[in-house]
């Protein structure tokens, strides 16, 4: 008897659950509607003013990437309500609502893709190139041409103009501008070698300049116990992590840290890039004989144990750099201080990582590939009543960047785009040298478009010790302010290699063509898999030739023809 009573109770409980389910669903359905009502109130007619405050409150619903580990927000603040969003509310009368958030990286991309696919977009969003093209194709985006012309601040326009039309070209389709592109400084595009100078000194070696010298140094790092702990536990060259790329490509040309781009480049091999051959015809870098040559060298390095054996399996490429077991990696300027080196010097204050524009090609020239200034796109959903709000937010946050508390991570910006003049790091480097030399003072450095310059100038002497022209780690004081050290070490050590002239190689295009929308994923997978396997010895080097045939057959030839058309325009 008691058993059956229990069953009835459970049954009833079940029914209740079903009932509450229904009521819950209806209540949560209403909430989005109520928030759109605010946005629907007609905007008061006004002059287009980049910094104009709206009289009626405007609500902008956004999707946002967040940073799970970020603990910089003061108690009570959230990604939705913090110094940035309150400032926006205060100055522009715009309320920021986050309708979804996801961890930066794959999760964020997945959420965007889900939004696109289910046609359920927030009012504004920052997306990548593939997503941008898909959204344009689906007719999901608002035409921002007029809004940009009327509302973008002169500074923002100025920065976009420093790209000489490249940034605008990447967002203009059929003469309509569908997004606000970001502008990445040129320094984010150049990859070169970072090396433990203290190890070189200890083993009595010179900085390697050519591939052969690089091999010798890496071999010495592996075999001659540079960390002096009596164990053969050191690794020559760090490689990409799980999901990382061995080389950058035309879709993601910038900041491919821990890849092997400089090694490819020293063979004049530019995998993933669209190039002009000697006859002026378009070709694809990955199918060139130079690439086979570079791959065979990398394979040789890997076989000899000069490259981290766990490359592309390891979850975090920085691990070996931080714990002091790796002596060489390739990356852009910020992969230094902003990258693993903060931790590396905490673990070993003598770890003297320095950067050099090497390896050089056969003629002794540094020949890196260059990227596209734009790889993030701020888009506005078609039909959103206040497209100007998204642009105004950028205007405001960029102009007043220096007014905020620097301890709050900038990843809490709503709709963050990287905006920097193409030459921002170059200018910063030169100005810092002048400040150190005493020829410029912080107050001289209030340049529009170079917002951080003045603060940098005020801070640099906190962390840089004399002699000012020697960047070795013993002449720094990271403990004075590790945040400042990270930025200044990246700047001085990371930008100095770029002060010498070098030969730049650009891709013919950085956008996808029509056939690519359908075929690229498969071709790209084929390429990345083949290259990885060749390097790691899972396939013979000659499988490269089969790859070239397959690649061409499976749509590659057609795509080359399309890119050639683009190039002619």
């Amino acid at each position: 008897m008691s058993k059956s009573k229990k069953c009835i109770q459970i049954l009833l409980a079940g029914m209740l659950i079903v009932l509450t389910a229904c009521s819950n669903s209806s209540s949560s359905k209403e909430s989005p509607n109520s928030s759109t009502k605010e946005a629907e109130t007609p905007a008061v007619q006004k002059e287009a003013d980049p910094f104009g405050k709206s009289e009626e409150p405007i609500t902008i619903k956004i999707g946002k990437e967040i940073d799970a580990s970020d603990k910089s927000l003061p108690a009570g603040d959230s990604p939705e309500s913090n110094q940035y969003t309150r400032y926006i509310k205060d100055k522009l009368n715009i309320d920021t609502k986050i309708i979804w958030q996801a961890a930066a990286g794959k999760d964020y991309e997945q959420k965007i893709n889900l939004s696109i696919a289910s046609d359920d977009l927030p009012d504004a969003l920052v997306v990548n190139e593939t997503q941008f093209r898909q959204m344009v194709k689906s007719g999901q985006l608002e035409d921002l041409t007029d809004v940009y012309n009327e509302y973008a601040s002169p500074t923002i326009k100025g920065i976009i103009e420093t790209t000489k039309g490249l940034a605008l070209k990447s967002v203009t389709i059929d003469e309509k501008m569908y997004a606000l592109p970001n502008v990445t400084p040129e320094s984010d595009m150049v990859h070169y070698m970072w090396i433990r100078k203290d190890w070189l000194d200890k083993l009595g070696l010179q900085t390697p300049k050519t591939i052969d010298e690089l091999e010798k140094v890496a071999k010495a790092f592996v075999e001659q116990d540079p960390d002096g702990n009596g164990k053969a536990d050191t690794v020559g060259i760090t490689g990409p992590q799980l999901g990382g790329n061995i080389n950058a490509d035309f879709i993601n040309p910038n900041s491919n840290n821990y890849g092997f781009d400089p090694i490819f480049a020293s063979f004049h091999s530019y995998p993933g890039y669209w190039l002009k051959d000697s006859n002026g015809k378009t070709t694809y870098g990955s199918i060139q004989p130079e690439t086979k040559q570079a791959l065979s060298t990398l394979r040789d390095f890997y076989t000899k144990g000069l490259i981290d054996r766990e490359m592309s399996i390891r979850k975090d490429a920085q691990e070996l750099i931080k714990n002091g077991t790796s002596g060489i990696y390739f990356g852009v300027w910020w992969s230094g201080g902003y990258g693993p080196l903060g931790d590396a010097i905490q673990n070993n204050p003598k770890a003297n990582w320095q950067a050099y524009a090497v390896p050089l090609d056969i003629n002794g020239e540094f020949t890196p590939h260059m990227g596209n200034p734009s790889n993030q796109y701020l888009v506005v959903r078609k039909g959103y009543e206040h497209p100007e709000a998204a642009i105004q937010m950028q205007n405001l946050l960029f102009r007043d960047e220096s007014k905020f508390d620097v301890n709050v991570a900038i990843s809490n910006y709503p709709l963050r785009l990287v905006f920097a003049s193409m030459d921002v790091m170059d200018v910063t480097y030169k100005m810092m040298k002048e400040v150190l030399a005493g020829t410029k003072k912080p107050e001289d450095l209030n340049l529009p478009g170079y917002n951080l310059l003045k603060t940098d100038a005020e801070n640099i002497k906190k962390v840089k010790l004399e002699p000012y022209d020697n960047y070795d780690i013993q002449y720094w004081n990271p403990n004075a302010d590790i945040g400042v050290w990270k930025r200044m070490y990246s700047t001085l050590v990371g930008i100095s290699p770029l002060q010498q002239p070098y030969k730049k190689t650009y891709s013919v295009t950085y956008s996808q063509t029509k056939t690519m929308e359908r075929r690229w994923a498969a071709l790209d997978k084929l390429e990345k898999e083949t290259f990885l396997k060749i390097i790691m010895g899972a396939e013979p080097i000659d499988s490269f030739d089969q790859f070239v045939l397959d690649w061409k057959k499976q749509g590659g030839d057609q795509i080359i023809a399309e890119v050639d058309e683009v190039a002619k325009q």
Binding site: K106, E109, A117, Q134, Q140, S312, I313, A522, A538
Partner: protein, 300 residues
């Protein structure tokens, strides 16, 4: 006869009982199922599935030109069939051996311990496996004691399917053992007693009584597993694979996930998913009729 008459009026109550379940089914399975039409469209999210352009079998045609299709079908079937076979043999052997064990306390303890892994998720187990099989992990440590140089297990496309099958068997054999033990308890004990009187050895009893006693269960389970020939285990592979092992470890489900959600090729992904469903459904139907015919057993 009276009973038959009486139950006549029950049908409407039975329908009432079915109602909540079928409402749930409608909302979360049947309604989304109309998305299958995407397989025949050049799906444009802006237009939705009602207004996107119909392209007939274009997605399927393209699918068959892809090298990937062959690879993922082969991988899926290879991994799934190996899993089915291993998940039959290992637990069967284990159950038979356990049945021979005469220390009852010990028997119960072992039984309890071995199916512990069944309850752990692949999220958790993948975390553990990646550690154990890492370059500096314990497996390589043990191998090096025998003078075998360490290897990167999760970079080895040749080993990956076997790691997948092996870890799956490790996770599931304890639980599957129970099914066979249940069948073993169904054997009439008097048969064993009679055999003992006749002087049959343990091996003879195993071959002549135990095995024939559970052979129907074995056959039935094999038939039922036919429906799983295209299920190689999304959760497991999703949490363990990487591009280096795509060639041997990428399966239909992971491919569909990447193609649809990461590469934004909805039509292609849906087409592949549909093909998988059709094949699985056919196989289940076959197994339904096979079981009915040869084992006189209705699966559902």
């Amino acid at each position: 006869m009276i009973c038959k008459m009486k139950t006549k009026g029950y049908a409407k109550h039975y329908y009432l009982m079915l109602l909540p379940g079928f409402i749930w089914l409608t909302l979360f399975s049947i309604v989304p199922m109309f998305g299958i039409v995407i397989a025949f469209q050049d799906f444009n999210p802006g237009l939705g599935m009602f207004h996107s352009e119909w392209i007939g079998l274009e997605n399927f045609k393209y699918m068959f030109t892809l090298n990937d299709s062959k690879t993922i079908f082969f991988n899926t079937i290879f991994i799934a069939v190996m899993k089915i076979i291993a998940n039959m043999i290992v637990p069967l052997t284990f159950a038979l051996l356990l049945n021979e064990l005469r220390v009852i306390v010990f028997k119960r303890w072992i039984q309890t311990i071995v199916y512990l892994p069944h309850f752990l998720s692949w999220v958790i187990l993948s975390g553990i496996l990646l550690d154990i099989f890492s370059y500096t992990g314990p497996i390589n440590g043990i191998l090096s004691m025998f003078g075998i140089s360490p290897t990167l297990f999760f970079a080895r496309a040749d080993l990956f399917p076997f790691i997948i099958v092996g870890s799956d068997v490790w996770k599931e054999f304890g639980f599957n053992t129970i099914i066979f033990l249940a069948a073993l308890t169904g054997i009439n004990p008097s048969l064993y007693e009679a055999a003992a009187i006749d002087g049959a050895s343990r091996l003879q009893r195993l071959l002549n009584i135990t095995l024939p006693g559970i052979i129907t269960t074995v056959i039935l389970l094999s038939v039922l597993s036919l429906g799983n020939v295209l299920n190689a285990g999304f959760d497991q592979i999703f949490n363990l694979y990487n591009p280096l092992v795509y060639s041997s470890g990428d399966i239909i489900d992971t491919w569909v996930y990447r193609t649809g959600l990461l590469n934004l090729q909805y039509g292609l992904a849906t087409a592949m998913g549909l093909l998988k469903s059709v094949i699985s459904f056919t196989l289940i139907t076959i197994s339904y009729f096979l079981a009915a015919k040869f084992a006189n057993y209705r699966i559902f």
